[in-house]
Amino acid sequence: MLHAILAIAGLALVFGLILGYSAQRFRVEGDPIADQIDALLPQTQCGQCTYPGCRPYAEAIAAGEADINRCPPGGEATVLALADLLGRDPKPLEAETREKAVAVIDEQTCIGCTLCIQACPVDAIVGAAKQMHTVIEEECTGCELCLEPCPVDCIFMVPLQQDIADWRWAQPEPSPVERPRRATGDVTGKRRESA
């Protein structure tokens, strides 16, 4: 009897020490879930989710404060990916997905105030005080954060021209005789076919 108690107590002590040591030794810095969520977000830093950037939104999702359907630039694909990662049910997007666009500065009207340069989250606008500014198209994420600060309203969002390299085959229309999907829309139509 005593042997058994001693043995169990000894084992408990050993494992307790191992666990305590590993908790200290292998402590994970930062928030790995937030990192994984951040990796799925489109990084437009547009703030349409009401958080100041993609990273804060990722942290809010990780903390359970925000829903996964608040990212219009990411669209349905991002909602599905987040649902997959977090094991939650996909939801339709809160806001409409806008057409992909880039900011263009009307260089005739620009007064060189640098306000848009300061607003751009990805440094996609070049220029200097009292010099003309311009947007680097490849770097622009289309976040629209530069529109509001411009005092002369010379920045416009121009929809991206579809070129052949970006063209994609459309998904075929589903069969008209198939059962209609649930009202929540396409995102819940994901079929979990087991292999």
């Binding site: 990084q43 694909a77 440094d123 052949i164 994609r168 085959w169 008209p176 079929r191 979990r192």
Partner: protein
């Protein structure tokens, strides 16, 4: 030679006799040629000419900037009219930049031809590959992959066999057949050159058994002492035996690994048209500026094969084949199985255009309504890549792009066998194309997002650094001020104290109390 089988496949009516009844027609030079800057798989090219420039036939007019890229040459002599967006053969029916050349009707080479290398056997693989690259040659079976890159296998791979693909398995297409009938010597010479480049020990020349004339012409053209080196093999006509992987399986019984290349088995596969182009580039110094196109289908009056300059508009080609038959409603580039519909017959011939197929409504009756998948498994039975098409369909439909890749989506060659046999008329291949492009598109978007994140984080870092530096600067300034102030303060205080002490001493020594009082009041 013992032949093998690949999984699945279909026996299709070949419809080749329509276009092979007429001899090959070499088209004249049209007034305007529309030469797209991008005619191949890989990066687009960079134009070397400007509107108004005179170009001679065969002059390089657009330069490859990348390794997987092919130069573009002027198909005829004339003046560059403009560089504009013009419809090109692409399933999107979108436009892309084209160099428009106005022919001067002289069709003159000038001095743009490269030196003829009749002594190619003395040259090394590298210079011959450079010649292939300089001639802008791409795979002419339809995929248009730059040939020079294909002839340069990874270091350490030994190529023992060159497979020549003369199968041409898709119905209606007969451009390779006509080429093999009309210039078998040129193809064989091209094959010898490529075998020399690769160091291959044997050439397997595969031709489907529905092309007896081509087989005979090739056998006659082969030199008597080459029977071991060049083996001409008649293979059964089963669609899609002309697929590179399927052909290798038929010839050798070995499967090219998924995500691998034929080079992993020590083999390289080349199309007959490509070999002819390589031979022209090496022996005559000519770049790739023309090709044979099959103009056929029930919607064409006189179906035939036409040798046309790159950049010739489809409308001109069709006119050369007697024009449209009444009631044409559909124009397809490529064959009926893998081709895609063209919205406008102003699009030009590119290096990968093998066939133009025009049909009338009665030839392609609507397949009937799309019905749900009943899991009959017909598609699995015919899939030449041994995949599970119905599973791929479910996953592509549900946008489950991880599972669709697990089920081998990227091994799908889009041959269309599954959709052909599907009793529910499901457009299966379109689902696979959609899924593939969606996966690529998302990959591109992810890369873009990563770049944006990097820039955003760098910006934040920079802003923090600027703040910090500003704070440090301010702190330094403050410290400097603080140091200065007590210095002067103490100095004046000390001076004042000395002054007062002196005045006090003076006052005490003189006993002038009033001056000491005044001093105190002043202080």
């Amino acid at each position: 030679m013992h032949l093998h089988r690949f999984h699945g496949g279909l026996k299709l009516p070949d419809h080749k006799a329509e276009s092979t009844a007429q001899p090959l027609l070499t088209m004249g030079v049209p007034k305007y040629l529309y030469v797209p800057l991008s005619q191949h798989i890989g990066a687009p090219t960079e134009p070397l000419v400007a509107p108004g420039d005179y170009v001679s036939k065969g002059q390089r007019i657009s330069r490859a900037k990348d390794y997987i890229c092919a130069h573009v040459h002027a198909p005829t002599s004339g003046r560059v009219k403009e560089i504009v967006e013009h419809p090109i053969p692409h399933p999107s029916c979108l436009s892309a930049p084209c160099i428009v050349i106005e022919s001067d009707a002289h069709d003159q080479w000038g001095d743009s031809r490269m030196p003829a290398w009749l002594d190619w056997r003395e040259r090394d693989a590298r210079s011959l590959r450079d010649r292939v690259r300089a001639a802008g040659i791409v795979g002419m079976g339809g995929a248009a992959f730059p040939t020079a890159a294909k002839l340069n296998p990874r270091a350490g791979t030994r190529i023992h066999t060159l497979v020549v693909n003369g199968a041409e398995c898709e119905p209606y297409i007969s451009c390779d057949d006509i080429l093999m009938r009309t210039c078998p010597e040129a193809i064989l010479e091209g094959a010898r050159i490529v075998a020399h480049i690769l160091g291959a020990e044997r050439i397997l020349f595969a031709v489907e058994d529905n092309k007896p004339e081509a087989l005979r012409a090739l056998t006659d053209a082969r030199r008597a002492d080459e029977a071991d080196f060049i083996q001409i093999v008649s293979i059964p006509s089963i669609y899609p035996t002309g697929g590179e992987r399927q052909l290798i399986q038929v010839l050798t019984g070995r499967e090219v690994p998924s995500a691998g290349l034929p080079a992993d088995l020590g083999m390289v596969c080349q199309n007959t048209g490509t070999l002819k182009a390589i031979r022209d580039a090496v022996l005559h110094g000519q770049p790739l500026i023309s090709r044979i196109v099959t103009v056929t289908g029930p919607g064409i009056r006189e179906p035939r094969n036409v040798e046309a300059l790159i950049g010739t508009r489809f409308a001109d080609l069709i006119a050369a084949a007697g024009g449209y038959a009444p009631g044409v409603d559909r124009l397809v580039m490529g064959g009926p199985m893998m081709g895609f519909a063209i919205g406008d017959d102003a699009v030009p011939v590119i290096k990968g255009t093998n066939c133009l197929l025009a049909t009338r409504p009665q030839d392609t009756p609507a397949p009937g309504p799309v019905m749900p998948c009943i899991r009959c498994g017909e598609c699995t039975r015919v899939c030449p890549a041994n995949l599970l098409p119905q599973q791929l369909y479910w996953f592509a439909k549900g946008k489950d792009f991880d599972s669709v890749q697990d089920y081998g989506l990227f091994d799908c060659i889009e041959c269309g066998c599954c959709a052909h046999v599907c009793p529910s008329n499901i457009p299966l291949v379109q689902y696979y194309r959609f899924a593939k492009q969606e996966i690529w598109g998302r990959e591109r978007e992810r890369q873009k997002a990563d770049l944006a994140r990097e820039r955003f984080e760098f910006r934040q870092l920079r802003q923090e650094r600027e703040e910090r530096e500003k704070a440090e600067r301010l702190a330094r300034k403050k410290a400097a001020l603080a140091r200065k102030e007590p210095d002067q303060g103490t100095k004046t205080a000390i001076d004042g104290a000395i002054e007062r002490a002196r005045a006090k001493r003076d006052g005490q020594s003189t006993g002038d109390a009033s001056s000491a009082d005044r001093e105190r009041a002043d202080g």
